[in-house]
Symmetry: C2
Amino acid sequence: MTAAKPLARSGGRGRPSKATGLDLKQMILDAAEGMFARHGFYGVTTRQVAAEAGVDTALIHYYFGAKRELFDAVFLRRAEILNQARIASMDVYEADHARGEAMTVEGVITAFIDPLLRISQDGGPGWKSYFALVAQVNNTPAWGGETMTRFFDPVVHRLVETLKTVRPQAEYRDLYWCYQFLTGSMMLALSETGRIDSLSEGVCHSSDLEAVRVRLFAYCAAGFESVIGRAAKA
Amino acid sequence: MTAAKPLARSGGRGRPSKATGLDLKQMILDAAEGMFARHGFYGVTTRQVAAEAGVDTALIHYYFGAKRELFDAVFLRRAEILNQARIASMDVYEADHARGEAMTVEGVITAFIDPLLRISQDGGPGWKSYFALVAQVNNTPAWGGETMTRFFDPVVHRLVETLKTVRPQAEYRDLYWCYQFLTGSMMLALSETGRIDSLSEGVCHSSDLEAVRVRLFAYCAAGFESVIGRAAKA
DNA sequence: GTCTTTTTTCACCAGGTGATGAAATGGCGA
DNA sequence: TCGCCATTTCATCACCTGGTGAAAAAAGAC
């Protein structure tokens, strides 16, 4: 749509891979990431991705194989980074509270969510697309389920177990449901759909992740406490 | 995939529309609804819809026109019903508290969300697909945005204004952000992705909307109160 | 300078896509 | 009874889809 057809670096067919210094593979992944995030897997053709990346269609198959494998490559590229950032964040939080002042629900939740907000703010535009992609996969049933599970379940279990430590009387049922509420809010915020901009008639902007940071942690923490407390009374 | 090819009611080409008593138009919409919900707009072909509905492909064009118009018809069929149910629910709640005991944040939120849960539980399987569809449209930026706005903004504004009445000191910024958190949680719950089933290893089931009802209202209400309260202090 | 290997391009396929126009069918009013 | 007309089907179009195989070009080894 944007780029001309092949737009090769030199004239002929050759092999200027190292010559350009730019990694074609990454350029393809970047293009695919943005387009998949906006239009979904079926809403994008390999030809569109190739055009956007300024590359021949066959090159995509050369590097990644089938279209689905390209999608997986896009998904996996950042998944591990994300996971490590979150685990590190929770490690730090727990270590800081190993002795001394006790952990809080809001603290744990902040340690869980904040890395994502931080990465989205500081990590460059590719990460914004990536979060939109994850959000889309997250609530497309029976489509990204298996991948989602394999990559993100461990860190969620970590969150739940830590919360269980902070509030030992809480039931797992409540913790899992509250996690689901949390993840719905978080993913919608991270995907920056722009809905809140028009809805609020300019009062809020979905790109304003600082505004999210100021509110989301407290919001979720209060929700957790309320649900846990209500269950304890019953 | 399931149905045979044309599977017409009688042998020939004729016109048994009224003869069957079943409205072909509704059958097409039902089939399209389920498939769009599962695979998205681009993940479904008109031929697949036709096969699922047991109808010839050309009939879809005869009734609805282009594929996008079919999608819109699916979306619109239930949107108005949804809107009226929510507005009625909030009318009732406000009328019940016109004088006498004061409205509460949790009460208002319940009046806003509960109709959807109720419809999803009692309205038949088509509604489940529909909610999954709306959830998908909701966080696909730049795709269902305009339709979403046109249909669902009014009732959201109604919610925000009512909450402003209940908590006059609250700022609109906070109310809109909290609404966004709420809608993320609510839509994920309504779309019943099954993620929580595997995540919790069977402790929770995404089809258990009663479990959602018991927790979500309290969760969101506490979140609102917390954000409003925190802002007031600052 | 040649030869090998990697990268890139081209040409193309078999099948599927949304969509259309015209024909067939049969209910229904005259 | 007959012809009208809404409905349903068939055949097909022009185009696009994901994917492939072989040729061309350049990089690097020797």
